[in-house]
């Protein structure tokens, strides 16, 4: 593979990870954690400019790797519950899938490059019709209004690298606010019978929504509307509604959560689902 003649400059964490695994044959698990980090940092330092988004992604990948590795080293690994084990495989597979996708498009790009290069070797006819036919054709500018010209000028004068925009894409998945989540929780807890937290989030697939619901439960606990109980560490969390609430539901306090949720969601956006 003669592709990598230049000093490797990585455009992103996947590319770096691909390089570490495929080219340098680093076995992420056979080397020590510090070595993984060192090698990662050496490569990161080669980046000629620090893009905050890139840096964040690098951190994310690095921490995922370390997390996977640490879990393996932790004592009592044999006792890990089955679904946690599965979850870990899921994380690994997710990373693997993304690496494969990255590699697929990297290779596709090489072929496109070849096609573009071949395409650049030919010049297409663009002289158009000769006179007197040329004068027959309607003048293309006749259909352009001054306003369209001004718009074209602005388009043309707008530099290639646009100012970062607030991308609202990440807002989309949020379908529920803490306030709404609290309503939903209270609806389920209309008796004083304790309910398992799992029940409260049953049927919710979106991780963020689960977290929002958890935040709602915490807020209700803080406000003295529900009680929480957890018999053993990592055991199930049970939620029980007080028969007589210690206070009214404070809606203003609920709103405070929303900015936190927005941040949380922005973070989640950096780890796109599947």
């Amino acid at each position: 593979m003669s592709y990598d003649v230049r000093t490797p400059v990585y455009e992103g964490p996947f590319e770096l990870l691909l390089h570490l695994i495929l080219k340098e044959e680093v076995d992420i698990w056979d080397v020590s954690i510090s070595e993984v980090i060192d090698r990662f940092m050496v490569e990161v330092e080669k980046l000629d400019r620090v893009d905050l988004n890139v840096a964040t992604e690098f951190l994310l990948i690095a921490s995922t790797l370390i997390e996977l590795k640490v879990r393996r080293l932790l004592p009592g690994a044999e006792m890990i519950e089955l679904d946690e084990e599965l979850l870990r495989f899921e994380e690994r597979d997710l990373l693997l899938a993304r690496l494969l996708e990255c590699k697929t498009f990297k290779d596709a790009a090489k072929v496109l490059q070849g096609m573009l290069r071949r395409g650049a070797k030919v010049v297409s006819r663009s002289a158009g019709p000769e006179e007197p036919f040329r004068s027959l054709s309607p003048d293309p500018l006749a259909r352009v209004t001054p306003a369209q010209l001004a718009a074209a000028a602005i388009r043309g004068l707008t530099p290639p690298a646009p100012a970062p925009e607030v991308d609202l894409f990440h807002v989309a998945p949020i379908r529920i606010s803490v306030r709404e989540a609290a309503d939903a929780v209270l609806l389920t807890l209309n008796h004083t019978r304790p309910v398992n937290f799992r029940t409260l989030v049953a049927g919710i697939d979106d991780r963020i929504e689960v977290i929002v619901r958890f935040l709602a439960v915490l807020e209700l606990y803080k406000q003295g509307i529900v009680d929480l109980d957890q018999v053993e560490t990592f055991g199930d969390l049970t939620v029980r509604r007080f028969e007589i609430a210690e206070s009214e539901l404070d809606l203003v306090a609920m709103e405070d959560w929303e900015s936190a949720v927005a941040r949380l969601d922005a973070d989640a956006d950096a780890v796109p689902a599947q």
Binding site: E25, D27, L112, M115, G119, R125, S126, P162, D167, F169
Partner: protein, 203 residues
């Protein structure tokens, strides 16, 4: 109209055009079935090639156009001099590849696949005219969706997106998958044991 006359008309019209001429349009102008137009164009292509012409008739972006013969690139390069726009960077090419195969695609989806922000590469691709905003996501975010342009097809010298090699051809082969799996394996037990696949064990 005789076949010969139709062929001449095709040659004249395509010569006068500044962008690929759709066969339907040629059919309409010459009052000839589209299939015949396609057949005649194929004949013309073969004739130019046989006669060793320095130009060619090409089927590009859904139509026919005259272009210089690839063998003549050296003269054309000298002729157009600065005409060649700068090469695309690796990241720009990879982003272009994702857009070409996954369109319509949003910036967030592109960033997810690339693992980095794609702001500036998209801007470059739009400026080159290879990529354009082709719509909005109907979902709540109303994210802008990107796709490739006719100019992209023209530059690539292909007739349509279907003429691109299928993405499946680029899916990494088993050895790459295996190397990645090895690199990312969770624990010692994940390594296949000696009996099953001794090669898989890293030295």
């Amino acid at each position: 109209m005789s076949t010969n006359e139709t062929k001449r008309a095709i040659e004249a019209v395509v010569m006068a055009a500044i962008e690929p001429v759709e066969p339907q349009f040629l059919a309409q102008l010459t009052e000839t079935p589209v299939d015949d137009i396609e057949a005649l164009c194929t004949e013309l292509m073969a004739e130019y090639e046989r006669d060793g012409r320095g130009f060619a008739l090409a089927r590009v972006a859904g139509g026919y156009r005259y272009q210089t013969h690839p063998d003549m690139a050296a003269y054309i390069e000298r002729f157009v001099l600065e005409g060649q726009s700068a090469r695309l960077s690796g990241p720009a090419l990879e982003t272009l590849a994702i857009i070409a195969y996954k369109q319509p695609v949003s910036r967030a989806q592109l960033a997810a696949i690339r693992g980095v922000s794609v702001e500036s590469t998209i801007a470059t691709l739009i400026q080159r005219g290879y990529v354009a905003e082709i719509g909005h996501d109907p979902g709540p975010g109303q994210a802008i969706l990107y796709g490739t342009t006719v100019r992209f097809l023209e530059q690539m010298g292909v007739d349509s997106l279907d003429s691109l090699p299928p993405l499946a051809e680029f899916v990494p082969d088993a050895s790459v998958v295996e190397a990645l799996e090895r690199g990312l394996r969770l624990r010692a037990e994940d390594i296949p044991t000696d009996e099953s696949e001794p090669d898989a064990i890293p030295e």
